[in-house]
Symmetry: C2
């Protein structure tokens, strides 16, 4: 799947396949559990990837228990329910729009950083933006753990916020099943845009 | 830097370091050029990572020439100018808010997909969201090429859109220097939130 006229990457081909080339969005899962140790390892990788002003607004609620799953299910689009039923764990990825309370610790050399986010609208935009960057990192970190990710945007965003983040300061940016791929997990590989359609050089 | 109570990842430690643990945002660069072959290799990796409904709205304008750089420089916050002067190439990452024109090809099994994005406001939101996910993938793909990324949000967004995307359909989501790290490229490593501050399990 190497494109004409590229040069070799520093990243080993096996890692390229694991994270990008061979990895696929899974649409069914086996019953094999995802352990707390795996969740810790995933977080311990993704947390090093960058966010603007080191804001790190991503918060994760991992849905594993039957009660929690029953609360989530009606908030998913119907087409996403069967696959989520099969998943051993489902991650709710949310932006903490009051991330700025941690900034004195996260940006110790810039004590004025917190004041940059005094405006709640700008703060919400920064939270959602950086949590979305971190959602992308999370997909790749799940794959780095040898697990399949099934990210989904088809859910009731306001409903998930109200049900799982009643403090009003969090906003869900992605829901993602995680586990070992089950029977019929893969749809056909969808096409990607070509380099010349995406990149131009000035 | 392994956290207590994690399990080994499938991804090799060297690749973990290259993409996540040892990689750092660079704040100066050597003069060594970034070639078209490297840009192609970076795109050929990042393009495989997922977007919702396979929308792939990310478009990249790579600023290499002196004329283009001179147009960009006044649109950057002052603190971002010296590092950008030193970078052999600067990527403007933008969302194509009319990405839907490609959907009949990108989602061939769902001919109704394009109609889902008929509303321009919803389409802009989907474009910006997915291009931001792809911006995260791009940071990691640049690192996969053995290069340092210097992502920046401190720029005049409307100004960059007007100067480099006058068709009005694109919206810049990130500006990123790319190259080999130069003298004094690294600030101190900033702290990251702990697992228990970010993840909860239900």
């Amino acid at each position: 799947m190497t494109t004409f006229d590229t040069v070799p990457l520093e990243l080993e081909p096996r890692a390229q396949d694991l994270l990008f080339r061979e990895a696929r969005t899974a649409n069914s899962f086996t019953g094999e559990p995802v352990t707390d140790g795996q969740l810790r390892a995933i977080y311990d990788l993704l947390r090093w990837a960058p966010t603007s002003a080191n804001t790190q607004p991503l918060r994760i609620v991992a849905i594993r228990g039957e009660d929690a799953k029953a609360r989530l299910m009606p908030l998913l689009d119907e087409r996403n329910r069967a696959k989520t039923e099969s998943a051993p764990i489902t991650l709710l990825l949310a932006a903490d729009r009051e991330f700025d309370e941690h900034l004195p610790r996260l940006m110790p050399y810039a004590p004025e950083a917190r004041a940059m986010f005094a405006d709640p609208r700008l703060r919400a935009t920064a939270a959602d933006y950086n949590a979305t960057l971190q959602a992308g990192y999370t997909i790749l970190a799940v794959r780095a753990a040898g697990l399949a990710a099934g990210p989904m945007l088809g859910f009731d965003h306001a409903g998930v916020d109200a049900e799982f983040f009643p403090d009003g300061r969090h906003h869900a940016v992605l829901v993602m099943n995680v586990g070992k791929p089950g029977p019929g997990a893969w749809y056909d590989r969808l096409p990607r845009l070509e380099y010349d359609e995406v990149v131009s050089v000035l």
